[in-house]
């Protein structure tokens, strides 16, 4: 399954430091100042994503869930130049604007799935398309998930029809270090670069628990235990610290240029604060251990993924400023997924930690609103006052924070990317449909217009040479 991590970009780290008690923050920031050291290599496979439609959009008289804790009734939302430019009453439509009657409709920020394998484990699932996990060594920090993405995976447009505008594609969880993740805009692309979220920090997938020890222990190699897992992390971070220092010394003192190492470069990018750690980790004990590992080596974990036991350590997560990405109700497939409670997300949220839903599934990625609805209901049944205006953050702003893109997207706020979903009604109902999806202000999906429903190359002529698959 997945990993998540959260590493703070410099700006984000500074922001969080201002508002949170984080001893690690100061140390991190110091590392982050190493400007000349580009371990992250954002420009190696640069984003070629571009907004193609510039028509302004005015959504009128809708119910807005802003993602910042507000529910606004009978409100207009104006999108222009790819950004959210105004939120208010009786806004005037600019010339040539697409006007959407929002009467009876609800509007939310685009859904962000922090844990996806679309493109890397595509549909159809056949032997030759299982590109999501380089299961050849417990440490494959050198691989990049984007290099496996099949952009024509028909699951991308299905997720779009579920309101998903941004996804993090992660390597699988067989390894202690699975490799780099990539954050994508959910748009059709001929190349993965065409889908890459401009400027989004990279993530590093790490995995706790059963998977790495089963996969490698089963081959008679380390790790075969949880303690073997932790020894594996620490050894690698020692190497990464040395690698980072070597490069820092080189920048400072000159001499022979050190040799590049792809795996260590990614780890050094984490130590630098440029790459975010996304850590697949189910158990409370293991999350506590991983937060200490992070302290030992001076990095920050962004997010624990599949955090089935996050509720048990929610206060520790809050204290350490680590997010948790959770399911509403999956459980029992492994021992580490046995202690599930449906109130998990709500308990983490109420403990003031950053809580979110995630899918890890081509099916539930299409229904994250329903998954949030179930988790919200479980929270209400546990006695918490959690309303749609609060719960919507679990699929919008909080995953944006986990990915280090909350300054650009994740909420309906002036100046942010116009990633917006228009729903036929309250999104927390099984009967509600996604009517329109805007990405950077462009209408990328319209339920009422087949011509505005993307299809992947794979789908053409596949079931009917002349007709549509759907």
């Amino acid at each position: 399954m997945q990993l998540h991590s959260r590493v703070f970009g410099r700006g984000i780290a500074a922001l969080l430091c201002a508002s949170l008690l984080m001893s690690a923050c100061g140390e991190k920031k110091a590392g982050g100042e190493q400007r000349s050291l580009d371990f992250s290599r954002l420009d190696a496979f640069p984003s070629t994503y571009s907004v193609t439609q510039s028509q302004p959009v005015l959504i009128q008289d809708a119910t807005l869930l802003t993602g910042t804790g507000e529910q606004l009734e009978n409100t207009d939302l104006l999108l222009e130049g790819g950004k959210i430019v105004r939120i208010g009453q009786d806004l005037k439509a600019p010339e040539g604007a697409l006007v959407v009657d929002g009467t009876g409709k609800w509007v939310t920020p685009g859904i962000i799935d922090v844990h996806s394998h679309l493109g890397d484990y595509p549909a159809p699932s056949i032997e030759s398309s299982q590109d999501g996990n380089e299961m050849t060594s417990p440490n494959t920090a050198q691989v990049w998930a984007e290099h496996s993405v099949w952009t024509q995976d028909p699951q991308f447009p299905l997720a779009l029809a579920g309101g998903v505008t941004t996804l993090q594609i992660l390597p699988g969880s067989a390894n202690l270090f699975g490799g780099r993740s990539v954050t994508l805009k959910n748009v059709p692309g001929r190349s993965v670069q065409d889908m890459k979220f401009p400027g989004a920090p990279y993530g590093l997938k790490m995995a706790c628990g059963e998977n790495p020890k089963r996969v490698y222990g089963g081959k008679g190699t380390s790790p075969s235990t949880r303690m073997g897992n932790v020894a594996g992390y620490r050894s690698a971070w020692i190497d990464a610290s040395n690698y980072k220092k070597k490069w820092e010394d080189y920048v400072e003192k000159g001499g022979d240029e050190p040799e590049r190492d792809l795996g260590l470069e990614t780890l050094a990018g984490v130590l630098n604060g440029d790459i975010l750690v996304h850590n697949h980790c189910y158990r409370g004990e293991e999350m506590a251990v991983m937060m200490d590992v992070a302290d030992e080596f001076g990095f920050q974990i962004s997010t624990f993924h599949h955090a089935v036991e996050a509720y048990k350590v929610a206060d520790l997560l809050a204290e350490n400023n680590v997010c948790a990405a959770m399911w509403a109700d999956w459980w029992g497939f492994k021992h580490e997924a046995f202690d599930m409670t449906e109130a998990n997300i709500a308990i983490v949220d109420q403990a003031k930690a950053c809580a979110m839903i995630h899918s890890d599934s081509g099916v539930s990625v299409q229904h994250l609103n329903e998954e949030v609805a179930k988790a919200m209901t479980a929270g209400q049944r546990a006695g918490f006052d959690i309303q749609p205006k609060d719960a919507v953050t679990w699929m919008t702003l909080n995953p944006a924070k986990a990915l280090g893109i909350e300054a650009q997207t994740g909420s309906l706020e002036k100046g942010k990317m116009a990633d917006v979903v228009v729903w036929s009604g309250n999104p927390f109902s099984v009967y509600t449909h996604v009517d329109q999806v805007f990405i950077d202000g462009a209408l990328m999906y319209d339920r009422f217009d087949k011509k505005r429903q993307p299809r992947s190359d794979f789908e053409l002529g596949i079931l009917d040479a002349e007709g549509e698959r759907l």
């Binding site: 159809p124 509720y311 459980w331 099916v363 329903e370 009967y431």
Partner: protein, 433 residues
């Protein structure tokens, strides 16, 4: 078993007061009878001795227990058409799994019933989700080398349980036989769908041969057959048309092939999967073949399900096919109760509302010949009182009755929640039980 006890007591003429459940009156709910009376906006349901005695707008009767259901919704309990409840505790802990076996047998004789554990944690959890009974089937893991080498296409026989967690909660034995054709069958039968088909065909044909020549075959006075006597015995109710044969297929052409096979052997067929069922809905309807589908799975996840789509349930139902909706495959047997979310999604994609309720209750009972699924006089009183619309993701069961008896809705999940509601330092949590 309970029924058996009552039957024995009656036969012996010693029916005691102890065997009688209390009477229950559920007052003022919106009642979906899924029977002749349809939906009643506000009605009372009287339950006596574990059966529905009466459903009417107002009943002026007294009862041992009265449940106020005003503002609530009352339905028959959810019935899971396919599950491994009581056979699997933790999927990746082999010691807790009893649903699949590897070996020489083709598998039709495999009966997992003796392995059934009514104390599994999955049972209270799914009961709290509104499931009152379930059909439990064996399965085959296609990633199990031994199973694939054995080329088994029959998984074995299913049974039905009530989710009251009692030791006597098996409701019916030998509910159906399960087999794999299509893509999964091909994986199990050496690489071709055609070989899987040949295996089922020859097993059914030899089961006939066995039926017609039983004495000679048992004496050893007959040609050697390809299947064990136990396997051939297990197929007798299938070829006699008394036990349905549940066959897993998804591709439209595979569905047509199994319809033909079933007709040739006069087998009562149920299609499991049917991702492309909508493409052959009329043929299914004409052959009166019901389907069990995963209505929320619209992924073209294999080349056998390229036509998977959200309105499969709606299109099949419209054509006159009896549809049962299973729990979502991705959530496995641990969450079979989520069939109601799938049914809700099917409604969002065109399935009429009452048909959706039937697809998770009365249709399942009809397909597998079980009690329950309706609220009408004489029906088994498996009843759920919901906080709201049962197909809505924000609703939940407030009362669950099985055979008229109110059930606990406490689960490991709620107990863990209550223990860790406000997580904090120290050892105190260990003393909160």
């Amino acid at each position: 078993m309970k029924k058996l006890a009552v039957f024995c007591a009656l036969a012996l003429g010693v029916l005691t007061a102890g065997t009688q459940a209390e009477s229950v009156l559920i007052k003022g709910g919106k009642v979906h009878t899924l029977a002749d009376k349809g939906t009643l906006e506000s009605a009372d349901v009287l339950i006596v001795d574990g059966k529905v005695e009466q459903v009417a707008p107002t009943l002026n009767v007294s009862a041992d227990r009265v449940i106020d259901a005003s503002g609530k919704v009352v339905t028959p309990g959810v019935i899971a058409p396919i599950s491994e409840l009581g056979l699997v505790e933790i999927s990746a802990a082999s010691g807790t799994n009893d649903h699949a076996v590897t070996g020489e047998s083709i598998g039709s004789a495999f009966n997992p019933l003796p392995a059934y554990n009514p104390k599994s944690t999955l049972i209270p959890f799914n009961r709290a989700g509104g499931v009152t009974s379930a059909v439990v089937f064996p399965a085959i893991s296609t990633w199990d080398t031994a199973a694939v080498e054995a080329q088994r296409v029959f998984a074995g026989r299913g049974f039905a349980i009530k989710l009251n967690g009692e030791f006597d909660s098996v409701e019916a034995k030998d509910v159906a036989q399960k087999a794999y054709l299509g893509e999964t069958g091909a994986q199990l039968a050496g690489g071709s769908r055609a070989n899987a088909f040949a295996k089922v065909e020859s097993a059914l044909s030899q089961a006939r041969e066995y039926r017609d020549n039983r004495a000679a075959i048992r004496k050893g006075d007959w040609r050697e057959l390809d299947y064990s006597l136990a396997d051939l015995e297990a197929l007798q109710p299938v070829i006699n048309g008394t036990e349905p044969l549940l066959i897993t297929v998804n591709r439209a052409s595979d569905i047509l092939v199994v319809i033909e096979l079933a007709q040739a052997f006069n087998v009562k067929l149920v299609v499991l999967g049917a991702a492309e069922g909508w493409m052959v809905a009329n043929q299914l309807a004409r052959a009166q073949v019901p389907v069990v589908i995963d209505a929320i799975d619209n992924l073209p996840i294999s080349f056998s399900s390229l036509g998977a789509r959200f309105d499969n349930a709606a299109l099949l139902t419209k054509a006159g096919v009896k549809v049962a909706i299973s729990g979502p495959g991705y959530a496995s047997t641990h969450n079979v109760y989520l069939s109601r979310q799938s049914a809700g999604n099917a409604v969002a994609h065109g399935l009429p509302y009452e048909e959706a309720l039937k697809s998770i209750s009365s249709n399942v009972a009809d397909i597998f010949n079980l009690d329950g699924g309706t609220l009408e006089k004489g029906a088994t009183a498996d009843v759920v009182v919901w906080s709201g619309d049962p197909l809505e993701v924000t609703s939940y069961p407030e009362q669950v009755l099985i055979d008229g008896e109110p059930q606990s809705l406490v689960t490991r999940s709620t107990r863990l929640r209550d223990r860790h509601l406000k997580p904090g330092k120290g050892s105190g949590f260990g003393y909160r039980h």
